[in-house]
Symmetry: C2
Subunit: 414 residues, 2 copies
């Protein structure tokens, strides 16, 4: 158990069912050959819900259902998630199938169909196998439980090409009342081709007003899930949902006071932890690159520069090759055509092996190639880009580009 | 000899020195270990010049010199190009070195220094070896000639990771006078890391007004060099230059008449031929993908959608794997967030093996996977995306993403 005193929260074991009043399930129902492929997250009481959805204009049909419910402010009591089939690019029939799944899950759990979200991840452009879905939803609903195993089953059932489950749980103290936040995620690319998508589900028993839940969730998303990249692609199915059921029974958080900040900070940790887990599991990735932009003109420019570096195939292959190739970094930044002054830029690499500055004031610095190689031999590397154009800064995370990325994506369907 | 009757021009052998009044040279001067690394293109009379330069905000110093001369409308008589060192990210000293090279080449050829362009391609962030440059420029200048071998030497001396020279020559008839256009190019990525850059040099003996030369050149650039991509990156050194010395002595083209159109069309062919050659030589590429967007809302949207497809790592790896993965194409288009209607989109693949439609009206079409694989086994594949949002269309060219791309770029400096 790690105590984070500064942040006033503790990391605990438990998973998605740790917050009070939450149950879960994960089963193999037959979409995939053998692995678990259907998950349920259930709250014993209807929960406040906030969500963000892919900006890809080609949205998978289930997302229209979810957005409609979330945007109308409906309380949510269950989420059904299948893996192995994204129900994307499936048109009207795909939407009808999604709604049928929601209705069936509502019926199985004896709750309102307008309190049930459904979503999918997997192959694009194939209709859901509805016979399998119908049988599987009913059966999985019978197995929901609040125990640890169910939380693990749930985290496993949403995986596609992921090589490990991604979950995190924290507890914090709000006026002497224990509040928990838990999250699970899947995704080892921003999109996996066929095996599309980044999905994130957060449960919390905090008692909070809807408006503040939305604010805490959405502002944190911009600095976590929206600042990671594996291959620069936005899936048709990306989504992140938080359910807050109030079962902790803390006095309601209804203003931006100390308690709100405590909750927001703990939630920020949860989201960033999951975001980084996704990058670490990036398709074929051997390294996580944490890129800091400092001294940018404004936050938007900082984000664009940061992502330009992390999305550059040339930067990514250089990290794979452990090559201290700062020229690719400055060139990737320049290619954004943003107005920054390269003659004032400074680039530094940091890892557990040490720190090295390669470029300063628009000109290269002579450096020890062997030492640079040693720094880059680590699995986690920080790239610090210091500009002198303003006060804005940001941090983003990305992966290297490897033979295995090509292998995974060239051979997936064959 | 291929006759293109429709277009009123013929492809001929000859190279950069084929148009009247042009000479060239290419030598090993010692920047690289053994291969040719310095090239000169020379016109016996000062030539009209038009140019386009990288939009990367981090421009290599020699480009500032070139842009200054071109933008001031100066006539140009010589271009000096070194490979093996990009003279990029080298600050004030890099600019001074570039100007010294221009002055030295002017002196060696006994022409005005303001008629001499210089440019570089190769490793970023290393100062030019000026001792080598000084000696090499003088020596190479002594060898300029209009013969075929000099044209080949010149085309070779601008290469970096290129695996073959890229050159094309055409002749056309303007009111009974023979006019020639020739071009050479280098580049096997939009940027090569260290080995940066796409360079294009066109010579023509046509007699034309400056304004029309600019217009014909720049409008064609948008549909040729600006519509290719290997890795979606814009180099610090990218440039394309045309020199028109008027030595063909045709009656001057001074309005947008039939002769102008003839010249423009022939130039379009030259530029597209070179652009496609660059893609075919893309780092690690095994296939050239020609992507057609039809029925787009406007030209700009068509270009963005086309490049989004060609730049998608997931689309590129799918082509490498010969996987008819239309889902990645529609998703890459959607991720642009442009307003198009995916439910009216149609996607077709065409190669010498046949033609197959995979997606229509927002839904997948059942198709024969074996036949699709056969179509994708060819080296050149057309992707036809038909929208129903308007009348705009475009064509772009890209390459697949392969193990060798990763290998070339991960291992380059080591």
């Amino acid at each position: 158990m790690i105590t984070n005193n500064k942040q006033n929260f503790e990391i605990i074991t438990g998973g998605i069912t740790a917050p009070k009043g939450f149950q879960a399930a994960g089963k193999h129902i037959g979409i995939k050959k053998a692995k678990k492929d259907f998950a349920i997250i259930y709250s014993q009481v209807p929960a406040l819900a906030s969500g963000v959805f892919t900006k890809n204009i080609v949205k998978a049909p289930p997302l229209y259902w979810c957005e409609k419910l979330i945007n109308s402010g409906k309380k949510i009591q269950a989420i059904g998630i299948n893996s192995g089939n994204a129900n994307a690019c499936t048109g009207e029939k795909g939407y009808e199938n999604a709604v049928e799944c929601a209705k069936l899950l509502a019926y199985s759990l004896n709750i309102s169909e307008e309190s049930v979200l459904v979503t999918s991840t997997g192959v694009i452009g194939v209709y859901l196998p509805m016979d399998v879905m119908r049988k599987g939803i009913v059966e999985t609903a019978k197995t929901i439980s609040s125990d640890r195993d169910s939380a693990i089953d749930c985290a496993m059932a949403i995986m596609t090409t992921d090589t490990f489950t991604k979950e995190i749980t924290v507890k914090l103290d709000i006026d002497g009342v224990e509040v928990k936040i838990a999250g699970i995620a899947k995704g080892s690319g921003m999109i996996h081709p066929n095996m599309a998508t980044m999905l994130n589900f957060i449960t919390t028993d905090v008692n909070i007003e809807k408006e503040l839940l939305d604010k805490a969730f959405k502002s944190n998303i911009d600095d976590s899930f929206n600042m990671i990249t594996v291959d620069g692609e936005t899936s048709t199915n990306d989504m992140a949902i938080i359910l807050a059921n109030g079962c902790a029974n803390n006095e309601i958080i209804n203003k931006e006071d100390e308690n709100y900040v405590k909750f927001k900070n703990a939630l920020e940790f949860v989201l960033k932890y999951l975001a980084k887990s996704i990058v670490k599991d990036g398709e074929g990735a051997t390294k996580m690159i944490e890129c800091h932009i400092k001294g940018a003109k404004n936050k938007q420019d900082a984000r664009v520069l940061c992502k330009a570096i992390l999305n550059s195939n040339l930067v990514k292959t250089a990290f794979f090759g452990q090559d201290a190739n700062w020229g690719r970094i400055i060139s990737a930044m320049g290619a954004t055509c943003l107005d920054f002054d390269p003659t004032k830029a400074k680039i530094t690499f940091i890892s557990n092996q040490g720190e090295i500055t390669l470029f300063e004031n628009g000109a290269p610095i002579a450096f020890d190639e062997d030492f640079a190689f040693k720094i880059l031999s680590e699995n986690e590397i920080k790239v610090i880009v210091e500009l002198q154009d303003g006060d804005a800064k940001t941090i983003g995370w990305g992966s290297d580009l490897t033979y295995d990325y090509v292998k995974i994506n060239a051979e997936y369907r064959s």
